[in-house]
């Protein structure tokens, strides 16, 4: 295809960085023992932050090389690999926006680990950098096998992050997380093998044009959805998420909620709609029902939680319900809203997990009851927390609103009951978020340990402030994103219409 392989560079830069860290570590392992360990830990983290920041710069370069007015995949790199399989990368507006979310959140995650991770720091940053490569790879791969490799391989570093650096019950959580996602992926693998054999190619662009027979589509669709539903997650396969979040370290939660969940929505848009349009149309009411249940059910469950992280995890499931609703509305407004909701949720839920992390690092508890009255000691923290609380309840002017209203408007055109059910979630989200805020931040300080709690430090500022800025920016000027995702949305919908 010629030209500079910007996507490959961007994808494998973190992996190369991880190798570098590993080599340096191996070289200095003998020399550094006692007094320099704390310093070397910071040095390793700083190196990782720089590598991931460089990756972000690479993604920005890709953004500028990307022509927003053109349809189809761009910046394509393709090399023959084996038979129907090739190494093929490329982006459209949908994948590029998710890539940028990934590269934006990863440095923040690494930085957020500054004070909270103190064991096996080298292994930790290696796991994170490897994870970043796999996450980017999922979004830029244009070949089924390549996609599957990235999709599955990403499980391993995430599994390790939860299982090694996690909380008390990390092994159970990691096991649950792995089991759920693996079973979903195995079904998807079987379907992929069938598709490659039937179409004679693993190339997305070939598969998009290949019309599978309707009855075949049904089975393929189910197999793919099994995987995406777990990732998103959709009710009733969401129960791994609260446990994984609660046990994961702060940065793990941020990346889990911010990026990994989005792979589910991305998969639906990349595979389910364009490749299995008849099956998608057939299952629309089914998906709407699951979306509405997810929104109402998990919102109510979120309200009853006593653990801050669990509450936000359940809230994530509810917010992903809007994504499902928008995608399966099969119209421009719904799909654009769903993409926007994914990006917005990446920022907001990421920020909320960071917000929880700030007090967790100080108090080492996530119990809501242990807090209360933080506002009198941490006014800046309280302000940021308020902003993201409001963003999470979808207050207009924040990015949370735009995604919710568009998915509902799109959903309304397909099924009024689905939009009405989703709108109920708008009420409940206010209930659980305001209750959480009130119990942790407002009121008198009752726990004497909170008397000396310090407000946000510089590192926390650097992590949270950019998320706050983007949450407001995209809330006021969401067209910045719509302009990017517009042509890919149109393309997905026309592929879908062409298939029916």
């Amino acid at each position: 295809m010629g030209g500079f392989p910007i996507l490959s560079v961007m994808t494998f830069l973190p992996l190369a960085g991880a190798l570098l860290v590993m080599l340096v570590r191996a070289a200095t392992a003998g020399s550094s023992k006692g007094e320099s360990t704390a310093q070397s830990k910071k040095a390793v983290l700083l190196a990782a932050v720089i590598i991931s920041a460089a990756t972000f710069v690479a993604s920005v370069a890709a953004f500028f090389a990307f022509d927003r007015s053109a349809t189809g995949y761009q910046l394509v790199e393709q090399y023959a690999w084996y038979g129907p399989i090739s190494y093929k990368l490329g982006v459209d507006g949908l994948s590029l926006s998710l890539v940028m979310l990934t590269t934006f959140l990863t440095p923040i995650c690494l930085l957020a680990s500054w004070n909270s991770i103190d064991k096996r720091v080298t292994e930790y940053v290696i796991a994170f950098l490897v994870l970043e490569t796999f996450m980017i790879g999922v979004f830029v791969a244009l070949d089924l096998v390549l996609f599957y490799i990235f999709f599955e391989a990403g499980l391993i570093p995430m599994f390790l992050i939860v299982g090694i650096w996690g909380g008390k019950d990390r092994v159970y959580a990691a096991f649950k997380f792995f089991l759920y996602t693996l079973i979903g992926s195995l079904l998807m693998l079987i379907a992929m093998v069938y598709m490659i054999l039937a179409a004679g190619s693993a190339d997305f662009e070939v598969l998009e044009k290949f019309a599978f027979a309707p009855e075949i589509q049904t089975w393929l669709w189910l197999a793919f959805i099994a995987s995406f539903a777990v990732k998103l997650p959709m009710w009733p396969v969401h129960t791994w998420l609260p446990d994984a979040h609660v046990q994961a370290p702060t940065a793990g939660s941020v990346i889990l909620a911010g990026v990994l969940l989005k792979m589910g929505g991305y998969g639906m848009l990349r595979f389910s709609l364009p490749m299995f349009p008849d099956a998608s149309a057939m299952f629309q009411p089914f998906m709407f029902a699951l979306a509405v249940i997810a929104i109402v059910y998990t919102s109510l469950v979120a309200w009853r939680q006593t653990d801050m992280k669990k509450l936000i995890a359940y809230s994530s499931v509810a917010h992903m319900g809007f994504v499902t609703l928008g995608i399966f509305a099969f119209n421009e407004i719904g799909v654009q809203g769903a993409i926007f909701q994914m990006l917005s949720h990446g920022l907001i839920s990421g920020a909320l997990f960071l917000i929880v992390g700030v007090v967790y690092d100080r108090m080492h508890t996530r119990e809501i009851a242990a807090y209360g009255g933080l506002v009198s000691r941490m006014p800046i923290y309280a302000s940021f927390f308020m902003l993201f609380t409001m963003a999470n309840v979808g207050l207009p002017g924040t990015s949370g609103f735009v995604g919710e209203i568009l998915t509902m408007v799109g959903g309304f055109q397909a099924a009024t009951w689905a939009a009405a059910g989703a709108a109920l979630g708008v009420i409940f989200s206010a209930v659980y978020m305001l209750t959480l805020y009130r119990r942790t931040v407002f009121g008198e300080i009752t726990n004497p340990e909170l008397n000396d709690i310090k407000d946000m430090n510089l590192v926390e500022w650097i992590c949270i402030a950019p998320l706050a800025a983007l949450t407001i920016l995209f809330g006021i000027a969401p067209n910045l994103i719509f302009n990017l995702t517009d042509s890919s949305t149109t393309r997905i919908l026309s592929l879908m219409a062409g298939g029916q």
């Binding site: 129960t239 089914f286 207009p396 206010a430 305001l434």
Partner: protein, 727 residues
């Protein structure tokens, strides 16, 4: 109209002023207070100038036209040949959400409605800012308070100048946020926290309807902008909704909602009105407003009396083209408004907290505005909104002055005889009371502002009765009884507070046990003890000048706003004044026909008002014990009223408990059922025994609940598929 630059200044400057609150650490409280107050006062001056200039520019020549040819021609010719062209200017600031047909901009729409609202909002807000210099002088969080006030002002302005439903929704939820923050301003205390969440959530219930209404609008009209949507209804243009092959005229169009075919305008009207009910505290969704009195009193005056709570009325008037062509939706507006007017007045009679009396009074007056709009007298509704803003802000700020003077005492039973301690506040409260009861002489121009607007509403309602408008009969009679009750509870307030013996001279104010204002160690309550260097002297005192000036200016409004603006809003010049911003269908003549109502209709409000005054005088002035004895005897009616008809208890027992119950069941279902079948179950599968099977037969409630919910969903999905999947 003002030039674009000044209009943009009026709308945006309060928002930027609010941002200075972020920097209060560096620039200090005084600077934040000065900037916010200065900016909002300047906006108020500009907006009021704009309103006065606009009214002055109408000239006096229109009267003849109105009563002769022009007006009647307008009535008979229908909308297509409207004699008055819609005078409107839209300044587009920048695009907001553009996806397909969904086009929403950040914009400033200037027409008569927004000119009136801008004047009300910035005028009252400027005075409230000023007043707060005195009222909040001892509070440690002054910057935050002023920033919130300015934020509110900005959001409210964004609401009223929106040219599309989405920006309106932005302002709508934005004022909800400001209201939430200000109700819970004293955030270390329980009661304000509870009240703020209750307000936000109740409003969200309304917003649920509003959001669905907006979705339905977009579904039918393929636009969220007021211009195209309302024009289509005005001209009955053929519209092509999203899921219809056939095109239909706007007024007859049908939508399939939950599988039912209903008239689109009816559905839209009802859904949007649910939003209005939440924001304007109408029956069923009113429960948050009395609790909102936990906020500082200037907030109650600005947000929970003069401006935010009137947003629902504004919405209905703005969307008059929709309500003009509905039967059920406008009937619902009239019915809910009438019921609220009466309901809130009954509760207001039995409250002892001075702010709660005024809060219920607000609720009741909003009911008047709604039933006016419901019977088709939108101009009268807007007129009452306008005059009410003055006298209700006056009453609240007066009450604030009393509370301030009484060292944060709010219970009227502990007040009395204050007239001699605070004569200026007393005068202001008297003016406010005379204005709210609507004292004036029919057929003349002698009357306080409430007289002109309330009588216009009652007369229009009676004209509606003559024209057989649905629920007009109910509205008129409920409104008349409420007028009687209004007079009674208003005078009761005056007598209990300002007249008679002064119990506060007998014992210190520490004796009271009002739990919401319990004397825990907090700056706000320190205020109550230490202010003004009184030390242990708890004698009531008159408020400082900075609080009295706003009272004086609002008193002018309460006295003269009615007579001055009467012609423009509802009488001779109203066609040219509104200039199409409010729309009336060809067959709606209620505002005009109110001049043809029987003579007794004009005098009835005066009679009931005097009756209310006499009874209040008898029970609370001549025989001060009677009211207390009625309360003590605990008759069922009094119990019903003083407990607000038990709404809070009923909602708590059903909605709140029910949701919590469901939440707990679902949570257990996650653990026991989904995990039990899923990962945990799989782990057990390896060592499955007969014990595993018996787990299926556990008699747990949540198992069954879960199965039932699942069955409902499956059943619903099947039904949906069978109905062809549409709607």
């Amino acid at each position: 109209m003002l030039p674009d630059s000044l209009l943009i200044y009026i709308v945006l400057a309060p928002g930027f002023a609010a941002l200075t609150g972020v920097f209060h650490k560096w620039i200090g409280d005084r600077v934040v207070m000065a900037i916010t107050t200065g900016v909002v006062l300047s906006c108020g001056a500009l907006s009021l100038y704009q309103l006065f200039a606009y009214v002055a520019g109408l000239g006096g020549a229109t009267e003849a036209v109105h009563h002769a040819s022009g007006y009647d021609a307008y009535l008979t010719a229908g909308a297509e040949a409207a004699a008055v062209e819609l005078k409107q200017r839209v300044i587009t600031l920048m695009p907001w959400i553009h996806v397909g047909d969904f086009q929403a901009n950040w914009a400033i729409r200037v027409d008569t409605l927004s000119i009136v609202m801008m004047a009300v909002i910035t005028g009252v807000s400027g005075l409230v800012h000023l007043y707060s210099w005195g009222y909040m002088s001892e509070d440690p969080h002054k910057s935050r308070f002023f920033a919130y006030l300015s934020l509110f002002t900005f959001m409210m302005l964004m609401l009223v100048v929106a040219d599309n439903f989405i920006q309106l929704f932005f302002g709508w939820e934005g004022v909800g946020l400001a209201s939430y923050l200000l109700i819970g301003f004293w955030y270390t205390k329980k009661a304000p926290n509870d009240a703020s969440i209750k307000a936000f959530v109740t409003n969200r219930v309304g917003d649920f309807g509003l959001a669905l209404g907006i979705m339905a609008v977009f579904f039918m009209f393929r636009s969220v902008e007021f211009g195209p949507v309302l024009d289509a209804i005005r001209t009955n243009a053929v519209i092509t909704p999203y899921a219809f092959a056939e095109a239909l005229p706007a007024r007859e169009s049908v939508i399939v909602f939950f599988g039912e075919r209903v008239y689109a305008l009816e559905l839209i009207g009802i859904l949007l009105f649910i939003g209005a009910m939440g924001k304007s505290a109408q029956f069923f969704l009113h429960v948050w407003l009395p609790d909102a009195m936990e906020g500082p009193t200037p907030v109650s005056a600005l947000i929970h009396a003069a401006t935010m709570v009137t947003a629902g009325v504004y919405l209905v008037c703005l969307l008059s083209p929709i309500y003009e062509y509905t039967f059920y939706a406008s009937g619902m507006v009239a019915l809910v408004g009438a019921v609220t007017a009466l309901y809130a007045a009954t509760v207001g009679m039995a409250q002892n907290d001075i702010k709660r009396v005024i809060a219920y009074s607000t609720c009741s007056q909003l009911g008047y505005m709604f039933f006016a709009a419901g019977v088709g007298a939108y101009e009268a509704a807007m007129f009452h909104l306008f005059t009410h803003a003055f006298f209700k802000a006056l009453l609240f700020l007066g009450a604030g002055s009393v509370i301030h003077g009484m060292h944060h005492e709010q219970d009227m039973r502990r007040m009395g005889g204050l007239a001699k301690f605070m004569p200026l506040t007393y005068a202001a409260m008297m003016i406010g009371t005379i204005a709210i009861i609507g004292l004036g002489i029919p057929h003349t121009k002698f009357g306080f502002s409430g007289f002109f607007s309330k009588d216009a509403i009652l007369e229009s309602s009676y004209a509606g009765v003559m024209a057989s408008v649905s629920f007009a009969q109910l509205a008129f009679w409920f409104g008349l009884v409420a007028a009687f009750l209004t007079s009674f509870y208003s005078w009761r307030l005056i007598y209990m507070t300002f007249h008679g013996p002064a119990p506060h001279e007998a014992h210190g104010h520490d004796a009271h046990a009002h739990d919401a204002h319990g004397h825990d160690a907090h700056a706000h309550d320190d205020h109550a003890h230490d202010v003004h260097g009184h030390g242990h002297d708890h004698k009531p005192h008159e408020s400082p000048l900075v609080m009295l000036i706003p009272l004086a200016l609002l008193s002018l409004g309460a006295m003269f706003a009615g007579v001055y603006f009467y012609d423009a809003f509802v009488d001779a010049k109203n066609e040219t004044f509104w200039a199409g911003a409010i729309y009336r269908a060809a067959e709606n003549h209620v505002l005009h026909d109110r001049h043809n109502v029987p003579e007794w209709v004009l005098w009835a409000p005066l009679v009931v008002t005097i009756a209310g005054f006499l009874i209040a005088t008898f029970t609370y002035s001549f025989n001060r014990g009677i009211g207390a004895r009625v309360a003590a005897s605990g008759g069922p009616l009094h119990a019903l009223f003083s407990n607000k008809w038990y709404f809070d208890e009923i909602y708590q027992a059903t909605l709140v408990r029910g949701s919590a119950f469901l939440g707990n069941i679902f949570w257990k279902a996650d653990k026991k059922i989904i995990d039990g079948i899923g990962p945990d179950g799989m782990a057990k599968l390896a060592s499955m025994s007969s014990r595993g099977l018996s787990r299926m037969h556990t008699g747990y409630l949540y198992h069954y609940a879960f199965v039932i919910i699942g069955a409902v969903i499956v059943f619903g999905a099947i039904l949906w598929l069978r109905s062809g999947g549409a709607g």
